[in-house]
């Protein structure tokens, strides 16, 4: 039930953020520094989410089949594969490594 609450708050914030762009006078958000921080934060969050999902297990760090997924995804991206192919490569690598008895 608690999770529902945070889901709905996240939804409200997401919409409010989009809408703010339409109502705030362009000048207020034109600060190059704010734009830059929003950009670096996007990169930082995505990098962090990648790492957390690859090596974190609760409060521990582990190397398991997910590392294989990370490598497979990087190779797919390097080969300019579309998003869905990248995701499937990651899943296939992790599933295959587990089938072989690792992680």
């Amino acid at each position: 039930m608690n999770l529902w609450l945070w889901i709905l708050i996240a939804c409200a914030l997401a919409y409010a953020t989009k809408l703010v762009g339409y109502f705030v006078p362009a000048k207020l958000l034109e600060s190059p520094r704010i734009m830059h921080v929003a950009g670096t934060m996007t990169i930082g969050l995505l990098a962090s989410l990648t790492v957390v999902n690859a090596v974190a297990s609760g409060q521990g760090l582990v190397l398991d089949a997910r590392i294989g997924a990370l490598v497979a995804a990087a190779v797919a991206l390097w080969l300019r594969a579309p998003f869905l192919v990248v995701v499937i490569s990651g899943a296939a690598a992790a599933a295959l490594l587990r089938l072989l008895g690792w992680g």
């Binding site: 997401a14 762009g21 969050l45 990098a47 989410l49 957390v52 990651g90």
Partner: protein
């Protein structure tokens, strides 16, 4: 009926074609969101509410990713909200471009995402911008939600998600969202610094919090660095990449 003229016009519109192919490609990967979401412990309706109401791929993946890692609802909400900040900037750009009035503003805000913004800003003619934005925005909204539902139902029937490597799929999805933003040295340095900060933080703070630590690190770097000012803010993709490729080819 007079409407017969409209499809003719749309078929000739480059923005419409780009938006349509983008809608199909993006909509399809709603399957991976739906499947990952139920694998992370969300039920069908929670998954659908995220796609219907939150409707921003990166933020949706962030929300379920934090929860899947054992993080709290607050941490998931915070990560999702921070990742959605760029949509506010897109909103500003679209508002300046299309100036939607009245109720249209509230609808266009909801479909202001990476793909619709990219499609519109790749055009210079205002009518084309409008067609591109609305076709991509509404097209993706419809297909993304249909495919989220399919993924959620399929994921539910699959049993142990790890056996299918769905945790690996999440890793791949985040890397794929990050990848197009890593153009140049500064983005790479920020990504590396935030990855390191995350690894260092994991053993010491509750799940979900390392992501917020990384956000602070990225924010501080961004505040003090003076590189290109729109770094990382380009939408996820370049829908007109094909055209650019042709240009490159012409130069050779």
């Amino acid at each position: 009926m007079s409407s017969s003229a409209v499809p003719m016009k749309l078929r000739d519109s480059p923005a419409f074609k780009v938006a349509l192919s983008l809608s199909i490609a993006t909509g399809l990967y709603g399957v991976s969101f739906g499947a990952l979401s139920v694998a992370s412990g969300f039920d069908f309706w929670q998954t659908m509410v995220l796609s219907l109401l939150l409707f921003s791929g990166g933020s949706q993946f962030a929300f379920i990713g934090v929860v899947a890692g054992g993080g709290s609802g607050v941490a998931a909400m915070t990560a999702s909200a921070l990742l959605g900040l760029r949509n506010g900037i897109y909103g500003m750009q679209i508002n300046a471009m299309l100036r939607p009035g009245g109720w249209k503003r509230y609808v266009s805000a909801h479909v202001t995402i990476d793909e619709s913004t990219a499609t519109a800003s790749g055009q210079s003619d205002p009518d084309e911008q409008r067609r591109g934005f609305w076709t991509a925005g509404i097209g993706i909204f419809i297909l993304w939600n249909i495919f989220t539902a399919i993924g959620a139902l399929a994921g539910d029937a699959m049993g142990d998600p790890k056996q299918w490597g769905l945790d690996g799929a999440a890793v791949a999805a985040f890397l794929a969202l990050l990848w197009p933003r890593l153009k140049g040295r500064e983005p790479w340095a920020i990504a590396a610094a935030c990855a390191l900060a995350t690894i260092l933080a994991v053993p010491f703070v509750p799940s979900g919090v390392p992501i917020l630590v990384a956000a602070v690190v990225a924010g501080v770097i961004g505040w003090f660095s003076h590189a290109r000012m729109d770094e990382g803010l380009e939408p996820d993709l370049d829908p007109y990449a094909e055209k650019h490729k042709h240009h490159d080819g012409g130069r050779k």
